[in-house]
Amino acid sequence: MKKLEIIDVTKYFDELYTLENISLTLEENQIVSIIGPSGSGKSTLFNIVAGIEKADHGKILIEGNDYTGKTGRVSYMHQKDLLLPWKTILDNASIPLMIKGIDKKVARQQAAPYFSLFGLEGFENHYPHQLSGGMRQRAALLRTYLFAKDIMLLDEPFGGLDAITKRKMQQWLLSVLKNLKASILFITHDIDEALFLSDKIYVLSERPARIKAIFDIGIPRPRDNSTFTCEEFVSLKEKILNLL
């Protein structure tokens, strides 16, 4: 089933032509990655899907319904963890529930059970600065997940991590997704990451962003360290490298 459809989206910032007729489909329970040069307009596309930026042309369909320009439907995560330093991890994770109007206490109770799944058990009452970079990203991901469990937009969620931690997070993400029903749109600069995680990869051009290529990634799951060196991975990587 088509979970999310971006249809023919065009965007100008005043004179700056940023997105040129972008169309894209996210199927249920898929991970779809978007790779593209810096400044091409990837984050802008996410902002449009999330409803906080207006497209000049085009539509956003979610489960077949028009959500163009509407906020509050999909959840959204940045490269920066954007955790509030003055709230504990549990309170940070409860924020989306509180915004939905759920009472603080109830929100906490609803958020708490997910901590073990996200590898944060025992850290509920820690402040963000007491956590490692990887744990902070997991907490941010948990918060994102708690807002909208079915569609998540992840904008370079591991971009700020060192390569080793990043690799661990990628493996963790795949493992946790086995237990969650979620469709994910994923921005990254890292070809290895895109190949490792995705069912499909869209490669964007320089600004104005057009879709330059689409790759269906048939690498079998579960994926692990050996995935990085399997033949299909290596040949797809070569193709994408030569595209960029």
Binding site: I52, T71, S75, W86
Partner: protein, 271 residues
């Protein structure tokens, strides 16, 4: 990458209760020097009384000065509180409605160049000789740093964080409550500390336009009878009160931002 580390004791540190004793020792030395100079009659005592004399006078005259002090503290506290409320209100308004910021921000900056002391007599003309004109002066002095620093704090919030909350469909009130106000607290408190430093002094200046009670009035009176030691005792009280206000704000700050102590501690090391 900046390094976070715990401070070891530096070789020069000798501290009790987390207070660095070095400046205390140095200040004590300065005061002793002053004592010696006055004891040796190097200056006229009506120009500069000995510190021991000032302390003695402070103790002896405290019952009388205390009454005046209460009035000054009252004016300072009421004025400070009003300044805080007004500052919060106006900063939030300027943050929310950009046109208001464009109109008022330049006026606020310009207003700082008006010598309030010269206006003080006007306030007496307009507001009489009760507490009101003193409180008005305290408000005028304290209001500006609070407003400007709160505004800066509100504006410094990460735009991506605001976008994140907006993408969740958060209301403007949600955004202030969850992000903007807490994020602005450190900046707000640094504004409070600047204002706090001046609040007592502002009340004293306000009292010079006239009134019946207050440290400002007291100072004028004792000066009139050439009791320099009493003038200095009053100055000492003003300094101590101001430091008290600062410490109190610092205390509230640490209570209001329990998370901050550690981050701050680390940050300070970093910088």
């Amino acid at each position: 990458m900046k390094r976070l580390r715990n401070t070891g004791n530096s070789p020069y540190t000798f501290s009790i209760l987390n207070i660095d004793l070095l400046p205390v020792v140095f200040t004590t030395f300065l005061i002793l020097l002053w004592e010696v100079i006055t004891r040796l009659d190097l200056v006229d005592p009506f120009i500069l009384p000995a510190p021991s004399k000032v302390i003695h006078t402070l103790v002896v005259t405290f019952p009388l000065m205390g009454q005046h002090m209460m009035a000054t503290v009252f004016e300072a506290v009421v004025g400070f509180c009003i300044a805080i409320l007004a500052g919060i209100l106006i900063a939030i308004m300027m943050d929310k409605v950009r046109v208001l910021k464009r109109i008022f921000y330049p006026l606020l900056i310009t207003s700082q160049t008006v010598p309030i002391i010269t206006l003080a007599p006007l306030f007496a003309m307009w507001f009489g000789f009760g507490y009101l004109p003193k409180i008005v002066i305290v408000v005028l002095v304290c209001f500006f740093p609070i407003t400007i620093s709160l505004l800066k704090g509100l504006e410094s919030v990460d735009k991506d964080l605001l976008n994140l909350l907006k993408s969740m469909g958060a209301s403007s009130w949600d955004i202030y409550k969850i992000v903007k106000l807490p994020a602005a607290l450190p900046s707000f408190f640094s504004g409070l500390k600047i204002s706090g430093t001046y609040s007592i002094m502002a009340a004293v200046i306000g009292e010079w336009v006239g009134g019946r009670r207050g440290l400002g009035i007291y100072m004028l009176r004792v000066k009139n009878s050439f009791a320099t030691d009493r003038v200095f005792a009053a100055i000492l009280v003003i300094v101590l009160l101001s430091i008290g206000v600062l410490k109190f704000i610092g205390f509230i700050e640490s209570k209001a931002m329990p998370w901050n102590k550690e981050i701050y501690g680390l940050k300070k090391e970093e910088e």
